[in-house]
C-alpha cells in the first residue's frame, strides 16, 4: 500500500529529524565508543556506514521490484510513484555503498576494486538501477511500463548474478570471525543504530519523492482541467 497523502506530510519531517539526530549520534559513537577491530583495526569503522547503506539498498531494491510488479498487475499510479521513489533512493544508496566500499577496499586490500562476488553483484544491481532512472527520464510516454519491466527483469536476474561469480568469498567481514550476526557489544549496538538511521533517511527520502511525483501529477491534471474549461491558454 502506497502511503496516503497525509502520511507523506508527517513522514518527511519526522524521519528527517530522526535521521539527522541518528547521524550525529552514530558518527560520535563510531569514533569515540566502538573499539578497534581485531584484524582490520581503524579502517573497520567505515563498516557502519557501508553496511548500513547496503542493508537499506536491498530494502529499496525490494520495494522497487515489488511495487513495479504490482504496478504492472494493477496499473495503479501510486505503485509506480513508489517504485520510482525507491529506485532513485536506491541509486543514491548504491553510490554510497560503492564509494565507501571502494575506500575501505583501498585501506583493507590495497585495491580500489576487486572482481569479487559481492562487489560484482552490487555493481550490476546498481547498473540496472541507473538504467531504470535513465529510462524514466528519457523514454517519454511509455517510461512507466518500460521501467517497471526493467525492474522486474532486474530482480529476477539477481540470483543469476549471485551464482555468476561464485568463486569463494573474500569480502572483508565485520567481526574477526564472521558476519553481521556474530557482532557483539558496542559494535552490534552501533551497527543496528546506523542501519536504523539510514532507514529513517530512506523513509524520509521516499516519502518526499512520492509526494513530489504526486504533486507533479496533480498539477498536470489541474492544468488539463483548466485548459478544458478555457481558463488557461
Amino acid at each position: 500500500m502506497a502511503v496516503p497523502r497525509s502520511a507523506t506530510d508527517w513522514m518527511v519531517p519526522v524521519f528527517g529529524l530522526l535521521g539527522a539526530i541518528g547521524l550525529v549520534v552514530c558518527i560520535w559513537l563510531i569514533f569515540t565508543w566502538v573499539p578497534n577491530d581485531a584484524v582490520l583495526f581503524f579502517n573497520q569503522r567505515i563498516f557502519y556506514f557501508h553496511v548500513g547503506h547496503a542493508f537499506n539498498l536491498f530494502i529499496a531494491v525490494g520495494v522497487c521490484g515489488v511495487s513495479s510488479l504490482l504496478f504492472l498487475w494493477r496499473r495503479t499510479p501510486r505503485w509506480d510513484d513508489l517504485a520510482l521513489a525507491a529506485a532513485e533512493v536506491a541509486v543514491a544508496y548504491g553510490a554510497v555503498v560503492l564509494v565507501t566500499g571502494s575506500v575501505w577496499a583501498k585501506a583493507a586490500w590495497d585495491h580500489w576494486w576487486v572482481w569479487e562476488n559481492r562487489l560484482m553483484m552490487s555493481l550490476l544491481l546498481w547498473l540496472v538501477l541507473v538504467a531504470y532512472v535513465l529510462v524514466r527520464r528519457y523514454a517519454g510516454a511509455s517510461a512507466d511500463r518500460l521501467a517497471a519491466g526493467l525492474a522486474v527483469f532486474g530482480t529476477v536476474g539477481l540470483p543469476f548474478i549471485y551464482t555468476m561469480v561464485n568463486k569463494g568469498d573474500q569480502h572483508p567481514q565485520a567481526g574477526t570471525n564472521g558476519n553481521v550476526a556474530t557482532l557483539t557489544g558496542p559494535m552490534q549496538i552501533v551497527f543496528w543504530l546506523s542501519v536504523a538511521t539510514f532507514f529513517c533517511w530512506f523513509l524520509a527520502l521516499i516519502a518526499s519523492r512520492v509526494a513530489s511525483t504526486r504533486g507533479e501529477r496533480e498539477l498536470r491534471e489541474l492544468r488539463e482541467q483548466g485548459l478544458d474549461a478555457g481558463l488557461l491558454t
Binding site: L72, W73, L124, L127, V128, A131, L134, V135, Y138, A139, G140, A141, S142, R145, L146, A148, G149, L150, V152, F153, G154, V156, G157, F160, I161, T163, M164, V165
Partner: protein, 233 residues
Amino acid sequence: MPAERPRQGVLRQAWRIAWKDLKVELRSREIVYTMAFFGAVIVVVYSFAFPSSSALVRLGAPGLLWVSTMFAGTIGLGRAFDRERENDTLRALMLTPVPRLAIFLGKGIAITFLVGAVALVVTPLMALLMDVPFFDHPGELALALLLGAVGFSAIGTVFAATLLKVRSRDVLLPVIIYPILIPLFAFGTEATAALLKVPADLDNAWYWIGLLGAYDAAFLVLSMWIFESLVIE
C-alpha cells in the same frame, strides 16, 4: 481477446509470424547481411586491437566472441523492430486474432534465427583470423551459442517491442537490455573458456551451459508472462 485455443494452436501461430518475418528478411536480406558484415568488421578490429599470441587469444577469445555476437545482435534487433514501426505493422499484428503470446514467440523465434546467423559468421571468422580452436568441441559451443541467442532474443524482443514508439529507442535498447544480459554473457563466456582450455574442461563447460539453460528458462517464462502487460499498443 480470442477464445481459448489449444496449446498447439499458439505454437503454430507463432511459427506463422516467425516465418512471415523470416520471409521478409529472405527477400531483402538487409538485416542478415548488415549484421553479419558488422560482426565481421568487429572481429577484424579485434584482430588488430589485441595481441595475436595464441596463449593470449585463448584467454580473450571467448569474451570477444560473445561481445561481437551481442553487439551485432543488438543492431539486428533494433532493425527488425524498426521495420514493424515504419509501416506501423506491429499495430496490425496486434489486431490479428492471435494471442499476444504467439506474437511474442513469433518475433522471438525470428530474432533467434538472425542472432544465430551472426554467430555462424563470427565464429568461423574468429577461428580463422585469430587462430582460435573453436571447433574442437563444436556441439557444446553450438549449444551454448544457441542458448545465448534464445535468451538474448527473449529479453530483446520484450524491450524492443515496448520501445517501439519511444524517440530515443536506439540508445535506450542497449541501456536496458545489457545490464539484464550480463549474467547470460558471463555464463556463455565461461562455458566457451572452459571448452578452449587444454585439455578442455567439459565438466565446467556443462555446468555453465546448464546455467545458461536455467537463465533462459527463467527469462522466457517471465517474458511470456510480461509481454502482454508491457506491449499495450
